[in-house]
Symmetry: D2
Subunit: 343 residues, 4 copies
């Protein structure tokens, strides 16, 4: 259920509504919008009595939320969620590019690529310190050492860091370095991790599981948002199908479906999505044309030598060409490519 | 195997190569390109002796085609296939729009929508006279009556006709009316039908089966092309996955994969692909951004009253808005929207 | 809708019911059962008035059939359909084995394997004269020559023939030889072919399409049965999924689902289903334990030399061992393995 | 790589082999078999020199393991793994039944069902204290209270406990109660959890992820076994496909594939697998016929009132009938249903 109030409601009226919610053993969530203040309700809502709220002062409307997910739904909040990461805006009319290698391989490698991306105006570096791998014998990342390098890169080059957390025991270490914490596809339904990451109050990039439905992705986002962390970016990264010509089947259908049903920004990862580097630019363009708010792309100065995911990774030349095409595409979808000014 | 010859090879040299191929019980296919003349070879190619061809005069190179499909592969013909349908060009830099209702429902309905589309500059009308339906009890189309209406529409309104054939017994009737014969997803592996339709020498729009791999789609195209009918348009229309939020999962990954591997034009059907009308424009834009050569879209003057597929059908207003967005998008991908001049 | 009448209803009462159905522009289908006579109704049933039938004499009950499929549903006919093929019974408590090579390769090959199977008591030989192949360049079967050999085998060895039809133009030739006409997975939604095969009145083995839902399989069966041909055997043969360790994913879940919803016998093809010969016996056993009425299994005297599907084909030794295990399993599921007495 | 030694090798010879392995920075794993002692090797095996091992005394053979998974492969250990849980044997010729409700709902409920199952001879009770749920608002289990009830049930009724762990922070609490720790489908690739659970040295039931390949399941098991915990039971529980008639698609093909490639026992969960209670017995029978070592089945004294998964849960009557059928089936597959003697 959702209580819509006048944006200028007196503080006491708002408090009255929240107290009433609490009296039903439910939790109120204050969600300010452009034209209304919404108070979302989670908890055992079957006992709530609609009429009791309609009588309270400053309450304009009481709405039943019909989706299984509540706080992340457009019913609850009609305006797009805008996320401010160190003064860079994600969502709305901004198109954001997150780029970088699959894994941190060495101090030199990560400084080199971060510098090159920064020169191109890219504001977000992706790079994994902890890598989830199907096999226990595969390269699992530089771990703490990797985080240390990221910390140095961030300070010296001045670029925002997007990096994955795998495990509750390393959340605080990752959260210290990351500007956006990435939750990978394999962990989309690791609910304990979702809740703990939600509690950090850091922005989160939540990737769709390999066979998760769109509804399940939104429900997993709800786990994070229900920790009062509203800064969640959803990410489509390809699903599993029978097709073997591509690594995964990037499901761009998810973009307009999510835009309709949720106020959260939706990014696309064309690198994992199609999994073949020379086809990544086409899918990146398609993602933006479908309405995505941003892209997360694997870029490496030397993809042939990458320790993981080399086949799906762009080199700098191809990435630069893609950025130019995206610049042309952005105004067609009424957006602006969010690159920092650079020399 | 593939023999590359000089474009200006004397006719006798070309004939010598073909005779040599026939002497091995194989079939030669002459495929002129921009810079070279290719002679494709199909049949029991394991006995061919490469050296015997290299010695023939005007032969520049002998190449082994490594894909299972041969004539439709880019190895065989590097230049994009361009199809001329009554002076309208499909493929290359042209973006083509095929639009219209799922089914012909009445004379008035089809004249009405065809007139409106023609006014907007659309050169191709889609409309089914024969409808394949899962249930024997569902509306199966107006059949012969439908073809008759299409014939009148074509003559009186002057629009090219794209319509489906279901059955060998109606091929000649359909071929008489259709400018492009559509082969539906359910018939993608109906090889007898593919061959018979191939023999009509009419352009063919071949839709990907619901669970066909991209390789299987290309092999099915090969059945048509091996009948010397090179005018085949491939069409991605959504595959079956576990996701239930959309009718099918439109697999735009197929677009760059096909562009890489085949010279045939690739269209996309976003209407069946995502199956929800208000999300069709986003997927249409994405398809073109991914590199598709055209779209086939369901449009009806009154989708709520359509006898079939109403939920995925655009009305004229939404379709007109989409056309405008596509006009803006086309130059970004170095293409031109192929609409006829109108009032 | 479905009219239940007393089994001993006077002929005139039955005729009255049928006439009433016809007066609504619908088609009556007389379906005798163990305890009741059912009259199924297909056609534009929305105009039927239930009360008008309830008043007719000998009518006991009028039931609305809620499934999209009608004649094949258990609602329409509660008793299992029993099919008599030249005095061999399929369905009910009988477990039937259809065995043989993927394709007829030569006169010697087919006589050899047919003789060996007959000695083991197998009553049904499978062997393809026409083979549907993804590639136009793969072996497509011996065609008419193959049918000729089957005809000889049938006459000289005395075994029932199960063979596939691909194409309307060869239906009558196939129907002349076949005791059961097979419709393959690729043709499950080739509705014109389904109807034409239905009209032959021969028993039909209808294979599930690679990505057909169970409901679609039953609707395709409905196309055949609506031609008054009630002798349809359904066949699960594996669906397409993301798993690559097996050729297809044999979906045994289909067996109890179909048993619940339809009165038609359901067979399983473990050879195509899992696609790896040494795992075929396990899946064959599982199919029978799940409640299947029979199996269709690829067996070859020399699988390594088979022209197609060798990897999924049993040799005679493994097949014989499987038959012995099935003999032990049959009574556990209250069935009897339907082998002919042999010397 | 794998070193095969004589079963009666002197201890010093074994130690020499292990020291040599360690000198290459790899880890030795001693795996005693029926006829040979195997020493598995994990770690950076690319530097190992085969010849150096062949020369050591008591070494009979040095084998390269070709699968990505090593310790769980049949190449590494040919004999079936047998797991002894408080003197009840799992694997080999024993068929094991794990039964019980989805979730612990109350002290009464769990004592009631556990008592009834014990009377029927069932040795393993399944019941969730922690429940992973797609929605944060769904019932998540009784948690610590649930574990407390399980502890009482175990002591008072004398039945082994199988219960799920969701989270690293509760591993030790769960491990104290559980005789077998269950790892659910959503956590199959939660590698940190796999390793921590591995370290408890408790037997583990590892469920296949909803879209995990069989190879990925075995690699996840490898994460556990590489912690020196060899007591891993694999469990097929249904995968995601396009089919909507069943909750999941129980993939029994996994059973013979796993039996061929791994020595670990493989169980089947027909309750989640097909998801419809009246079809669970058919799939349970099929699982055993396919070669599974055991079943995990949802049973509730009153399925209609279950707090979760009621639709797929058997009542006691249906469960008892299934046990009787399984008793008949077991000898057909050369196994014995592992029920305790009871009054």
């Amino acid at each position: 259920m959702l209580i819509l109030m006048n944006l200028n409601s007196p503080r006491q009226d708002i408090q009255n509504v929240k107290d009433k919610i609490i009296s039903f053993n439910c939790t109120p969530h204050e969600i300010p919008g452009a034209s209304k203040l919404a108070i979302g309700i989670t908890g055992p809502s079957e006992h709530l009595i609609k009429e009791e709220f309609q009588l309270l002062s400053s309450v304009e409307e009481v709405i039943r939320v019909t989706k299984k997910y509540k706080l992340v739904s457009r019913q609850m909040k009609n305006d797009d969620t805008i996320i401010n990461v160190n003064e860079t805006i994600i969502g709305g009319n901004e198109l954001t590019i997150i780029a970088g290698p699959c894994a941190i391989e060495s101090r030199e490698q990560i400084f080199d690529i971060a510098g090159k991306l920064k020169e191109m105006g890219v504001n977000f570096l992706r790079a994994g310190a902890y890598k989830p791998r199907s096999s226990p014998y595969a390269f699992q990342g530089l771990k703490e050492k990797g985080l240390e390098y990221l910390c140095d890169v961030k300070r010296e080059i001045g670029i925002n860091i997007v990096t994955e957390v795998l495990d509750q025991s390393t959340i605080s270490a990752v959260a210290e370095v990351a500007d956006i914490i990435q939750l990978g596809a394999r962990n989309m339904q690791n609910y304990a991790l979702l809740e703990q990451v939600g509690k950090t109050q850091k922005p989160v990039l939540l990737k769709r599981g390999m066979s998760a439905t769109i509804e399940e992705l939104l429900l997993s986002a709800e786990y994070i948002v229900s920790q009062q962390n509203y800064n969640v970016i959803l990410c489509e990264r390809g699903i599993r199908t029978f097709e073997t010509a591509t690594r995964n089947t990037l499901d761009l259908n998810a973009v307009p479906v999510i835009k309709k049903n949720s106020h959260l920004p939706i990014f696309v990862d064309p690198s994992h999505g199609i999994g073949i580097w020379d086809k990544v630019p086409a899918m990146a363009m398609a993602a933006i044309a479908a309405g995505a708010d941003g892209l997360i792309i694997e870029v490496h100065t030397n993809p042939e030598k990458a320790l993981s995911d080399g086949l799906q990774t762009l080199n700098l030349t191809t990435f630069r060409e893609l950025i130019q095409k995206l610049q042309e595409l952005a105004p067609v979808v009424n957006k602006k490519l969010n690159l920092s000014k650079h020399e």
